[in-house]
Structure formats: C-alpha cells, structure tokens
Symmetry: C2
Subunit: 289 residues, 2 copies
C-alpha cells in the first residue's frame, strides 16, 4: 500500500495509523478530522504524515473510517464516490445494520468492508492511540461477500498482521448480540454513575468510600456521549430489548430481597458466577488496566 | 504485639496477616478458618504460623475478624468473652449497623473496633492475599469512642503503618453510603452478567464479541455469594432503596430512547461524565488490573 487515508484520528483511527506505520513503512498516511486540534495533534505526534486532500482520497489504496456512526452513515456514500476502483474503504462502527443498508445499492458497494473491531479504552483522542490496541482482539466483519475479493484480501492481510481474530456475521445478528455484550454495559454503567452522583451530593463521600469495584463498574460512564448517542439511536430496538430484560432481572432481585428470599439471592449470584469462565476467554486490552 | 489471631484467612484476613508479618516480625500469628483447606494452605504458604487454639485466643493482643458478616454477628460476642482485657478485636465487615448493635451492651464492647477497610479484589482465598492490598486505601471506623483508648491506638498505629487513610463515621451513615458506592455496584454487575448469559446461550458469542468494557462492568459478578448474601440481608433496607433509584434511572433512560429523545440521552451521559473527576480520587488496587 502506498497511500492510506484515516478519517477520524482519535483512539481507534490513530491506533490503526500506528499499526499501518509499522507494517507499511513506505505508505503515506493522510488524515482528516472534524476536530482541528485533533488533526494538528495527530500530525504533530506523527500518527499521520499530512492532512488528506481530494488528491490523497483519489489515490488511496485504503480508507479507514473511524468516526461516530451517525457521521459514518452520512459520509460513506460520498467517500465511495471519491475513491479509485482499487481502494478498500473500511469502517469501525459499533452498529452495522444501518451502515450496510445505506450503501446496499451504491455502485461501489464492493469497495466497502463493514468492520467492527472489538477494541477500545475509555480514553479518546489521538494521544490515546497506541500500537497494539488490536492485538488479539476480534474484528467482526459483516457481508464479506459484498466486498471485491482483492480488497477483502488487502484488508484481511492487514488485520492478520495486527494480530486480530476475524469473525464473520450478518449485520442484523451483529447489532442484536452487540447490544447485550457492549451497549447494555455502557447504559448500566452510566446509570450507576448517575444514581451514585445523585445521592452522594458530597463527592468526598464517594472518594472515601468507593473502591476498585465501584471504579470498575462505572468506568464506562467516562465514555464519549458524541460517540455513544448515535450508537444507541441506530440500535434503538435491540438496546431497548436488553434494557427491558436487565430491568426485569433487577426487579426480580429486588422482589427477592423484599420477600427475604436470601436463598434465592444466593442462587442468583452463584449461577452468575460462571461468568468467571466466560471472561477468561475475552482478550483484554492490557493497557486499560 | 506478641500474639495475633486472624479468624478467616482468605484475601482480607490473609492480606492483614502479610502486613502484620512485615511490621511485627516477632509476633506469632495464629489463624482459624471454617474451611480446613484454606487454613492448611495459609499455614503452608506462611501467611500464619499456626492454627489458633483457646490458649492463643486468650493471649492475643489483636484479633482480626475477616469472615462473612453473618458469621461476624454470631461469633463476635463469644470472641470478646474469650480475649484478655488488653486485646483489640477488629473486624472488616461490609456492614456496620447490626454488628455494632449486637455488641452494644457487651461487657467487653471497649475491646472491639468496628472497621471496614475499602479494599479487595474479585479473588478470594489465602493464595489471593498480598501485602500492599491496604496501601492508600480508606478504612472506615465506626463508634471509635466506644473502644478503649490504648486499643484504638494499637489498631490505628497498625493501619497507619499499612498506609491506610482513616475515616470516622457512624454505623447507620456507613451502611447507607456503602449501599450506593459498593453494594449496588455488585447487584448491577451480577444482573448484567445474568442478562447476558440468559440471552447468549452460545458462550462463544460472548467470547468473541465482548471486550474489555464488558469485562470491567461484570467483573464484580465473580464475587463470592457466601460473602455477599449476608451483606445484602443485613443492609436490606438501604440496598432496596438504591435498587429502586437505579431501576428508576434505567426506566427513564429507556423511556427517552422510546421517545427518540436522543438529545436527552446525550445530556444524561454528558452529565454523568463528571464521574471521571470523581474516579481520579479513588485509590485503586493496582494488582487488580
């Protein structure tokens, strides 16, 4: 690859940029970002070589889109129009159905590869980017068959060199599953943070009394509302379903408490303890820790 | 100190034992545990020197109680009966009201110091114990005035040497606040784990799709039901109140989603983002990470 364009040079796009720099040292990396400071910072710290222009877009062998999912839906058709025939455009959005629908009938649909790398930290911006973010992580790829074969190959080769595991899935199944294992966690965390902040008017009490357990549970409440609002909007039906089931389980737990059914409470926790085994299989971002 | 007895040689008691060994190298540490394997393991790995006997209990200068809060309420009166006049008995329970009530009129109430060290990991057992668990952590002490002054001094000196920050609080306030910053986090995590396990019958899907965010949010669902059931039982009223407020916030979030009020969803998350600043003040157990 000679020319790559990264649109959105934050944690996700910037970490791809770091991998590209290492794996394709001769490639010129151009970047764009709606946040001027982010773009300048990305050039300054060497994540990318230059600001992208119409020319770099037309010459790109790969375009990486790492922007909020609402912007993705708006920008992708125009980006496909602008790239050359031999260019793979890939995204990193947390929702896949709407984006795949949006370009379903685009004449250059075969240039697009729908991706969701399951990787991230609660930090954002170019300075949060690091090489290794994607090592050992899963990349969920949707509708692989709709991407031109040589372009599939180019992208997969890159992901493989980054150390990613690939999982193929259809966009509808992706959005349903990811609502449980990712989107619900974020809401649970945000609402937990809200409940505690509401109650503990004196933040000193939270400082003094909270431990690492609390920190772990509310960590995701640090996440960016700009990124997460459009995810919830696009995945509305699935997210509401997960919320209903979660609230139902919490209500049942509360009812058991009210009925003094502590044998039931014990069993609930004991049954859920098998999450230990499940979690052992999840590749974690060590630097998060 | 010449003689210390640790009752419950798991993560909490064992980590106190490690600190005692370092700070009072001449003291003999005796231990007890209802789990025979734990006790043998604790002796084998050198956490404690020997199994405690009636004699070691009678000679103890300090007794550390690190057992589930239901056992604490049952055992504490008899332990106070058994110790000599110049012995401080301290606990590490996550609830403080019932335990303080239980010994309120005990003739040796002044031998007891009610403590709640805000420290722990999701691991348990003697092999999980480590020196440094308490460094920089808060220890909440209740009804300090009811403990004999020289015994207060002995315990506080130990905590200070461990690097702990002390916060004084009455037992009722402790139980109310801790329900928010600790007990609710555990329920939120257990029910999140349950919701996902219920849905994702194929655990492979959780493996593949879950990232570090999910792991962080459900980490507490690994916690011990033996330890947590009696905590929820003793702190029932407060825990139910936190659950009601949490469920209410989740319901409100769901209603906003249903009404397509994504401006409202954005604001909810944006307002809760200030948890970042709050979390910066929480001393974390680095080894948890």
């Amino acid at each position: 690859m000679k020319c790559v364009v990264i649109i959105g040079v934050g944690l996700i796009g910037g970490s791809f940029a770091k991998g590209l720099k290492r794996l394709y040292p001769k490639a010129v990396l151009s970047g764009l970002d709606t946040d001027k400071d982010n773009l300048e910072k990305a050039i300054q710290i060497g994540l990318i070589d230059q600001r992208a222009t119409t020319k770099s877009m037309a010459e790109a062998d790969m375009v990486v889109l790492a922007i909020p999912v609402n912007a993705l839906v708006e920008e992708l058709p125009g980006i496909l129009d602008a790239v050359k025939e031999d260019c793979v455009v890939l995204d990193a959005g947390s929702t896949k159905s709407l984006i795949c629908q949006t370009v379903e009938n685009h004449p250059k649909r075969h240039n697009f590869l729908a991706c969701h790398p399951i990787a991230g930290t609660e930090f954002s911006g170019p300075q949060a980017a690091f090489d290794g973010l994607y090592d050992g992580k899963t990349n969920i790829i949707c509708e692989i068959e709709k991407t031109a074969f040589p372009l599939q190959e180019r992208a997969l080769h890159f992901f493989q060199k980054l150390g990613m595991r690939i999982r193929y899935m259809n966009p509808v199944a992706h959005d349903k599953h990811i609502a449980y294992v990712s989107h619900l966690s974020h809401i649970s965390s945000f609402m937990l943070g809200k409940t505690v902040i509401q109650k503990e008017k004196n933040e000193r009490d939270i400082f003094d009394m909270a431990g690492s357990g609390f920190e772990s549970t509310v960590r995701l409440a640090k996440s960016s509302p700009d990124m997460w609002t459009p995810i919830f909007e696009q995945n509305k039906e699935n997210v509401i379903e997960t919320l209903e089931e979660y609230i139902e389980n919490l209500e049942a737990f509360k009812k058991m408490m009210e009925a003094n059914d502590f044998k039931g409470i014990y069993n609930e926790m004991n049954n859920t303890n098998r999450i230990k085994q499940i979690l052992k299989g999840i590749p974690l971002t060590k630097t998060l820790d």
